[in-house]
Symmetry: C2
Subunit: 333 residues, 2 copies
């Protein structure tokens, strides 16, 4: 019993049957149905197909996220769902709450086959990649989106972090800012470093020096982050502009400015990486670098399903950049 017998009985070519088993877009739904039906009937399970069957057993894909109280992540989930639903898969959301240890436990748990594939954005604490390697060793496909790790061969979907940050910084300088601050979510996450590099490059091109005191790294403790931001905004050499690389600290800055009586944008211009749909409703409306969250989730999920459906798809080589959009609003005018 091999693929030739199958092809012979169906009156199709071997290539057609092979493509049908790998769910190729070149093959019609009707042909696929016929091939799969006979394959099932004859209990035909070549390696690739068996692999595919093995990978598909739970019909669940996992989305591992630092948190959901962030517009980017909640919209990305919707993008992921839009693909999964079509494929008849469940999406299950696991939260790391920005803890590397929790992320490790969650991923290790997947090795038992609880899920068929994993989409993830790493926690701001994650420095080790052992737990991700252990998952890859089990042949469970993984796609990183947004917050990626770069020193491991895993598929990645990101935005143009360096360029978006560079342009936003140029924008702030064009509006008259001379003392610019950068708020990072963490110094451990690669995309944050790209954004910081873009920020530094813009300063450098303008002949401005980067001042270490103008860099705030958020932590998983909200209270600590707020303290650091307040310190920045009340210091003698406080910035007159700030590029914020995440949503939560941007709204923290609004609250602190309200509290200490700094006027946005007169005293401080603000641009933030944020997918917040109500950015335009804030007082003042917040200028944002908006990642196409839904698109990024959708793209990441599409890659994952390609890997689940085609055993010869080299998932780990995939690297997709989905550009962000800049929305200028009153906070940076």
């Amino acid at each position: 019993m091999n693929i030739k017998t199958l092809a012979g009985q169906l009156g199709f070519s071997v290539s057609t049957v092979s493509k049908a088993l790998n769910d190729s877009h070149e093959i019609s739904t009707e042909t696929k149905r016929k091939v799969l039906e006979l394959a099932k009937q004859l209990n035909y399970t070549p390696n690739a197909y068996a692999g595919s069957l093995r990978n598909k057993k739970s019909n669940n894909i996992a989305v591992v996220l630092p948190e959901v109280a962030d517009s980017f992540f909640s919209q990305a989930i919707n993008g992921i769902e839009s693909v999964a639903q079509e494929k008849g898969y469940h999406v299950i959301v696991y939260l790391t709450h920005e803890k590397q240890r929790k992320e490790q436990t969650i991923l290790d748990d997947f090795r038992s086959g609880r899920v068929d594939g994993v989409l993830m954005s790493v926690s701001c604490e994650t420095t080790s990649t052992d737990h991700i390697r252990r998952l890859c060793d089990k042949k469970i496909p993984v796609v990183f989106f947004d917050r990626v790790i770069e020193d491991i061969a895993v598929a990645r979907v990101v935005t143009n972090d360096f360029e978006a940050a560079r342009k936003a910084t140029i924008e702030l300088m064009a509006k008259g800012c001379r003392q610019l601050a950068f708020v990072a979510l963490s110094d451990k996450v690669a995309i944050m470093n790209h954004r910081l590099e873009g920020f530094k490059k813009a300063l450098q091109d303008k002949g401005l020096l980067f001042d270490d005191r103008m860099l705030v790294n958020c932590t998983s403790s909200e209270a600590q982050t707020q303290k650091a931001l307040k310190h920045l905004l009340t210091s003698a050499s406080r910035p007159d502009g700030v590029l914020v690389s995440a949503e939560k600290p941007a709204t923290d800055i609004y609250s602190i400015c309200n509290e200490i009586g700094l006027n946005i944008p007169a005293d401080l211009k603000v641009i933030a990486f944020s997918s917040m749909q109500i950015a335009a409703l804030l007082h003042p409306p917040l200028s944002t670098i908006t990642q196409p969250a839904f698109e990024m989730g959708k793209t990441a999920a599409s890659l994952l399903f390609k890997a689940l459906e085609k055993s010869n798809f080299k998932l780990e080589r995939e690297f997709v950049v989905v550009p962000s959009l800049f929305f200028e609003r009153a906070s940076s005018k």
Copy 2:
């Protein structure tokens, strides 16, 4: 082989063994270990214990939600996690996207033992309770929070929906509103009806009639909801005040007012049920009825774990009301 034999062999009282099997806090870890070890060795499985073992096998609890892009739900998840983490359980989030059919598929999938217990807020479409009954039949404990169904004996954690809505309506009338509208998420969800009843009661006590045209029911289609809200706000007999029973339509109303040039609060006063942490940063700051989201999640999870740990706990009788707080801000002044 019964509990007496077990007690005899261990040299403990029957009561001690029984409590140990039910994981009572009165019994030391060491004693529990001894009892469980011998029980396992002798394959001792009285009904309650078998049930308990069966319930505990996955170490996962499910949180089934309509969506996560809502501050209430994202904060409630954190409250749930705070309890689950302490108990060594994983929290897995499943999204129904407000579809009854999706909710049914998800719950039916749990019957295989994928999760040990379920915390849920029903979709705005959910009218049938069959899928919940099927889960209960499998002895998988369920706790509803926020969006509950009332015609089924399941534990419930809610806020004081009727009273909070009544008081907010009185507040709007005290500020001069005479034509009040109510925006409901759905006419199928019990808590929405309680809120609507509270709204109507306040009108009635003031001698005002409830006008059907002043009621907008949101749907799972955002575009449809926005159209209905725009229709309401541009009609000849448009309201001068609105009580909004969910977060998303409240921000939709802000956007529409911006678009059509209605001033909040001069032309329209707004109070919304919302746990949005940035309500105070909106323009104008939004008055909210804020559900204690974290507390409600925590309470619901605590009830679920009580049921998982104590086989004689009558979970289905539990009904907890956690009161909301009213924050008056510029939108209703």
